[in-house]
């Protein structure tokens, strides 16, 4: 049973390999490889959507939806060739066709062109055992939003069945380094769908790019660029492409990260001799110094309420995670296990931490329950770093090494679901998962 489900996942992944890649943009990360999912997965059938000849050459929407759900690790989509019928409207649905297969949920749909050329997709979700329609919806969007519509369908279906908001419509940015360590090094800041498809370059430099992070409204990305020969912080507008280089100080200008309300930017400056955490008010650009210690203080990140920062410090001799309350400057140490715990992020509940944890000399991504002090290592690959949470808090994307190359990988917060996003070009690193965005309306 379990291996049958695994095979089904593999099959869908393979199918996408054939169907999605040639039809879509030339520049993408390679097709995802699913390494692990839950033992008990929900059986769902996403019947190929009716797509008229006007959509020839575009990916089958059902494939995109099926692959979204498969890589969540919670669903086992039924391979289309196992299906006994291919309904695209409700009157063609015979529930016994799906009960025989053991399918619990059924999705059908169709794509049409509007008079103005826009795309219109109608779809329905059924509960097979209770023979009940759970959802019927029609979405419209410009024609180039083809994949966005498929991801939007995935988001709604996922939420309807699991109760958790889907994050398939999100984006990510990451750094692609080519020929690093040579005179021909090139660094690109890339934007892609959360499944690695449709990547495009936001900025290219011969000097290193680092530490991208999103504003909470998804309209801007902050990152570190060495384009002037020294590190500087850039605010990049996603819709217009406009770049603003913040005033540069002597030494490190690093670790930019927006506050939850988007009005402040935490960052690291070493202008006073060693790295300290600061908060910049983005309206009047005034800086407030938060930490005062001769050790390294870096890698700040906000608590969900915006009232505190967590950060990395070696003030205790080895790098560990600390929290500072902004109103009182009260500092508390959060991690105690192991010699090296760095670059932490809090889950949306504010109670759980993810960070880089060194065990037996090897860096992995770990999860810690702050109340019970329970620590779990989520990844088993070497050189794991830069964990970034999906906005629904169920998965995280991180950078790792595969056969000597930098790639991205995803693991669920419970460590059970794992997939990789291989890349055929360069070293991929420093992923930053976007917040929820309105992908059908956004202009990036």
């Amino acid at each position: 049973m379990r291996s049958a489900v695994r095979n089904a996942v593999r099959f869908v992944a393979g199918l996408l390999c054939l169907a999605a890649v040639p039809a879509l943009c030339a520049e993408s990360l390679d097709t995802i490889i699913i390494d692990a999912g839950y033992d008990k997965q929900t059986r769902i059938a996403i019947v190929p959507f009716r797509q008229g000849p006007e959509f020839l050459g575009l990916a089958q929407l059902a494939d995109v939806v099926g692959f979204d759900l498969a890589r969540s690790g919670q669903f086992a989509p039924e391979p289309p060739e196992n299906m006994l019928s291919y309904p695209t409207v409700q009157r063609e649905v015979f529930f016994r066709d799906w009960r025989i297969l053991g399918v619990e949920y059924l999705v059908i749909g169709r794509a049409n062109a509007e008079y103005n050329g826009d795309l219109s997709v109608s779809y329905e979700l059924f509960d097979v055992y209770n023979e009940r329609q759970m959802l019927e919806e029609r979405m419209t969007a410009p024609r180039h939003k083809w994949r966005d519509i498929a991801h939007a369908v995935s988001d709604v279906v996922f939420e309807k069945i699991t109760g958790i908001r889907g994050a398939f419509s999100t984006r990510m940015v990451y750094v692609l380094a080519e020929n690093a360590g040579t005179d021909y090094a090139r660094y690109r800041l890339e934007l892609a769908d959360s499944d690695g498809e449709r990547s495009r370059t936001l900025f290219t430099s011969n000097e290193p790019l680092m530490s991208p992070s999103w504003s909470p409204d998804g309209r801007r990305v902050a990152y570190v660029s060495f384009e002037t020969g020294r590190p500087g912080i850039v605010l990049h507008d996603m819709a217009t492409g406009a770049r603003e280089l913040l005033p540069n100080f002597v030494g490190i200008n690093g670790s930019p990260i927006f506050s939850p309300n988007g009005q402040n930017l935490a960052l690291v400056l070493s202008r006073d001799g060693n790295p300290e955490v600061y908060v910049m008010n983005l309206t009047d650009r005034r800086l407030r110094r938060i930490t005062r210690h001769h050790g390294i203080d870096t890698e700040p990140s906000w608590t969900p309420d915006g009232g505190s920062l967590i950060f990395t410090s070696d003030r205790g001799g080895r790098p560990q995670i600390y929290q500072v309350e902004l109103a009182t400057n009260f500092i508390e140490r959060l991690t105690f296990q192991g010699p090296y715990n760095t670059r932490a992020r809090l889950l949306p509940d504010g109670q759980h931490l993810i960070f880089v944890h060194r065990r037996d000399g090897v860096d992995h991504i770990a999860w810690q329950d702050l109340e019970r002090d329970d620590l779990r290592v989520l990844t088993a690959t070497p050189l794991d770093e830069s964990p970034s949470l999906a906005p629904n808090g169920t998965m995280l994307i991180y950078a790792t090494q595969d056969q000597g190359k930098g790639i991205l990988a995803v693991v669920s917060i419970d460590g059970r679901v794992k997939y990789r996003l291989p890349s055929s070009s360069g070293d991929v690193r420093e992923p930053a998962w976007s917040p929820f965005i309105d992908a059908l309306r956004s202009n990036f």
Partner: protein
């Protein structure tokens, strides 16, 4: 702890330098090269060989009195920012070059291997550049002659992923301007 160790090493070096400096004060005398120069093809002997230049055409200093370039890359142990004892002689010579050429300046680059997180490594790289800077300023180089930039793990010398590559990437580099 490493700071104190460094300081005592520095004191020893400074003392030995002062002694050497006294011996060669006054008119500039050629200093004995520590190693015999490379044997070169015998050519027609010029009547009066000009004194060797202090810098090569790209502005990098020679070991004084020789045509051998002074080492400009200094390596560090894993997760540490303490200068190696074996590098202190070369660093002292850099200090001498910079004291004697107040118009010249250096950029000190700090680098790390790929282990550990990137922003933490940016800080660690700066600490390595700082170790070289402290040595130079203690040896009389003006702070205005020194700039620092940390690249963390972003600019490896060796793109490999093993101990030997990591060893080559944990470094401080002096770029003469």
């Amino acid at each position: 702890m490493p700071k104190e160790q460094l300081r005592s090493l520095l004191a020893i070096l400074l003392a030995s330098f002062l002694i050497a400096g006294c011996a060669s004060s006054g008119t500039p005398e050629p200093i004995e090269p520590s190693e015999p120069p490379e044997p070169t093809e015998p050519t027609e002997r010029p009547p009066a060989p000009p004194p060797p230049p202090d810098f090569d055409s790209s502005g990098n200093p020679f070991v004084p009195g020789t045509m051998r370039l002074l080492e400009r890359t200094f390596y560090f142990e894993f997760d540490r920012a303490v200068l190696m004892r074996s590098d202190l002689t070369a660093l002292e010579t850099h200090a001498q070059v910079l004291r004697n050429n107040r118009s010249r300046s250096v950029v000190l680059e700090g680098h790390c291997d790929e282990r550990g997180t990137r922003e933490y490594n940016l800080a660690l790289g700066e600490r390595r550049a700082n170790a070289i800077r402290s040595f130079l300023t203690s040896a009389g180089v003006s702070a205005s002659q020194i700039e620092m930039v940390s690249y963390g793990e972003e600019r490896p010398e060796d793109p490999g992923h093993d101990e030997s590559a990591w060893g080559r990437n944990r470094r401080g580099v002096m770029i003469y301007r």
